[in-house]
């Protein structure tokens, strides 16, 4: 059965199935969300208005039999946080279930009558709309429980918390995990506000009886996915008992801190004296000591073999929260001067429930602290801010809009944003290469926009010297292109670690995609395909009004030296301007 597009119009509550058009047939995941937005969304539209759309697309291999760690769903829209094109992807149950229903994408468009909210149920028989007024105001923990109690077959639950209902710019989209908890978020860029603006509180996807994913070349697919799985099983970071398995992504906390690149107290220092207490090592010690339902490794979606997630228990062994990622522990912890892991667990739970991106939320609290509203390190005061956001008080609404709005409210000059989106946990003054990616990616400051792919593996060997600062632009472009491709596959971006060091894994990724789709994709043209996606996105942003002046890091990073290395951002603008100059060739 050929793949279809499910178009859900919230103005007239109509759902239509369309054959996947030829122009989109070669895309999936991020490539498809961006292609739909380019074709159907006016770049100058208001992100919360009737002309924006929310596109959800599983990757090429999602839902294919035994594809390892391939449960990523891409969510795309014009972002209310950045004003540009946005793709944020999530683990959880949604990707494989959407794919197994034979859907290439779900396009959510239009706006219902004012004040109307809906619960949407999708299965093999079609789409049902129900009034959601009884669900309004509820957090995602309760929503997930209610939906599994109401519907059979343990469906995917895609929803927004109170922040999304209020259409605030730091609203994420929650996807439930295999244990039916929230915590898997398409977090960045305020896409939850776009879903809220369509009047959708929650969407349930049940794939039982669906047609499944068709394989054009089963032999090639199988060969490819086995190579990817073998590389993941072999590599020190992704294998069983490897770094991600043992400590999760928070294995980075101590190492970035030793490097002097850990943004601390609203990006005023590069080292935090309490980093060890909130690191992956500390999380693992607590999990092992407390026992109970705690797990140091946990799959965020079925079929993940890396299992970098964890379940953090209370002291009595009962479930507290999943998952304390590196970015989460940093944003809510180090960047707020907080070294209390129990606070971080609680704040993570609040973000999961209310529907906030943890990076933007932690950064906004740090801004409020820098602006004198609270002292750095004040955990009680910080928890009250989550109450303000949940309750929708004026202060809570400001915080829920993210860092730039909060900085204006508190008169703060040290504003760590690019294109309106706040920076993640890597200080670009110390780690200069990532600053080039923060500055130039269309997504706003984003640590996942440029994952390392060795130039020679990517087929561009010999063109760049990683140790030469003048080549940082070329290197960032290669990384961004590879990332755009991986974000389209449905594979978790962390497959980049093994396929960087093990060339068979890189080839296997391309072969598995080619086997599913029949497209002419090999390891040699991955970067070119990734660049096609980047070009679409870049031109969308230009049409939305972005110029090279938006590809800059904030002024304070050129003015303030960052301890302990006492470095400033000194990258020449010409390096940044070169990264995307080719889109007009």
């Amino acid at each position: 059965m050929a793949k279809q597009i499910l178009r859900i119009n919230m103005t007239n509550l109509e759902a239509t199935y369309e054959p996947l058009p030829e122009k989109w047939a070669r895309w999936a995941g991020r490539g498809l969300t961006s292609a739909v937005l380019v074709d159907e969304v006016d770049p100058t539209c208001h992100p919360l208005g009737p002309n924006n759309k929310l596109v959800m697309a599983p990757g090429w291999v999602s839902g294919s039999p035994a594809a390892p760690s391939s449960g990523r769903t891409s969510f795309g829209a014009k972002s209310p946080l950045t004003g540009g094109i946005k793709e944020a992807n999530s683990g959880g149950l949604s990707s494989q279930k959407i794919a197994k229903l034979g859907l290439a994408a779900i396009i959510l468009e239009g706006m219902p009558q004012k004040g109307k909210w809906y619960e949407i149920f999708i299965n093999k028989d079609g789409v049902k709309f129900e009034d959601a007024s009884e669900l309004m105001g509820k957090g995602m923990y309760e929503i997930d429980e209610l939906m599994w109690a109401k519907y059979e077959n343990k469906p995917a639950v895609i929803g927004v918390g109170p922040v999304g209902e209020r259409k605030l710019s730091n609203a994420g989209i929650s996807v439930n995990d295999p244990e039916n908890s929230p915590g898997r978020y398409a977090g960045r860029g305020g896409l939850g506000a776009v879903m809220g603006a369509r009047g959708v509180k929650v969407m349930i996807v049940d794939d039982k009886g669906g047609p499944g994913v068709e394989l054009v070349n089963k032999e090639l697919y199988t060969e490819g996915r086995k190579k990817v799985a073998a590389a993941m099983g072999e590599h020190a970071l992704t294998k069983v008992d490897g770094g991600l398995w043992s400590f999760g992504t928070n294995v980075l906390m101590n190492i970035i801190n030793e490097a002097g690149g850990l943004p601390t107290r609203n990006f005023s220092a590069g080292q935090f004296e309490g980093a060890a207490k909130i690191s992956g090592e500390a999380v693992a010690e607590n999990i092992e000591t407390r026992g109970g339902v705690g797990k140091v490794h946990h799959a965020c979606h079925p079929g993940c073999i890396m299992q970098c997630s964890s379940i953090y228990p209370n002291e009595d062994g009962s479930k507290f929260v999943s998952v304390i990622e590196y970015e989460t522990s940093w944003a809510l912890g180090a960047n707020c001067g907080i070294d209390d892991l129990e606070y971080i667990a609680q704040a993570t739970w609040e973000c999961n429930d209310i529907g906030l991106d943890t990076i933007e939320a932690g950064n906004a609290i740090a801004i409020a602290m820098d602006g004198g509203h609270l002292e750095f390190g004040d955990t009680k005061g910080a928890l009250k801010l989550f109450d303000e956001i949940r309750d929708g008080t004026p202060l809570g609404r400001v915080l829920g809009q993210g860092v730039e709005a909060t900085a204006k409210a508190f008169g703060v000059y040290r504003v760590p944003t690019v294109k309106g989106q706040s920076m993640p946990a890597y200080e670009p003054r110390a780690i200069k290469g990532i600053g080039v990616t923060y500055a130039t990616t269309v997504m706003g400051a984003d640590h996942t926009a440029g994952y390392t792919i060795a130039p020679e593996i990517a087929g561009v060997g010999g063109k760049v010297d990683p140790l030469d600062n003048t080549d940082k632009g070329d290197l960032s472009l290669t990384f961004q292109a590879a990332t755009a491709f991986i974000d389209s596959t449905g594979y978790c971006l962390f497959i980049a670690f093994p396929i960087l060091d093990i060339p068979e894994g890189w080839a296997g990724m391309a072969e598995s995609v080619a086997g599913v789709t029949g497209l002419d994709i090999t390891g040699d043209n991955v970067i070119e395909i990734g660049k096609e996606i980047l070009k679409m996105e870049r031109l969308f942003n230009e049409a939305a009004g972005f110029t090279p002046a938006d590809d800059r890091l904030p002024e304070f990073m050129r003015d303030e030296a960052l301890p302990p290395h006492n470095v400033k951002w000194d990258m020449e603008d010409a390096v940044l301007d070169k990264v995307f100059a080719w889109v007009h060739d």
Binding site: V251, L500, H565, V567
Partner: protein
């Protein structure tokens, strides 16, 4: 012989060499002129079990390399040593201050700076 004081932090499974579980920090007295090799020998840490190594926040070694073993330590130096379980993807260390020895080692080896080595 004059003594120097070093603050050593061992991360992950290496912590067991100094009595910890996953993190341990110790103040260590060594003879002046001591090197990273001397420091690791003191705790009987096998050289092939260290990965990323920092001296005073400068990245000085990587997994599979031995760029730091002969670095001479100064009084009050801070040394952090990570295990082979630790990850530090290139994009998160691209442009970071590195020691001269590590920079030289990376330039000389095939695969350059981007690959992890195990």
């Amino acid at each position: 012989m004059a003594l120097i004081r070093i603050t050593l932090t061992l991360y992950g499974p290496l912590a067991k060499f100094a009595g910890g579980k996953y993190i341990v920090q110790k103040t260590v007295e060594l003879e002046a002129g001591a090197t990273i090799r001397d420091l690791m020998d003191r705790f009987e840490i096998p050289y092939d079990q260290k990965s990323y190594l920092f001296i005073n926040n400068i990245l000085s070694d990587m997994p599979g390399l031995s760029a730091s073993l002969d670095e001479v330590l100064s009084n009050n130096a801070r040394v952090g040593i990570f295990s082979l379980q630790h990850m530090y993807p290139y994009q998160y260390r691209d442009g970071l201050p590195m020691s001269e020895n590590l920079t030289k080692t990376l330039k000389e080896r095939s695969g350059g700076a981007v690959h992890n080595t195990y």
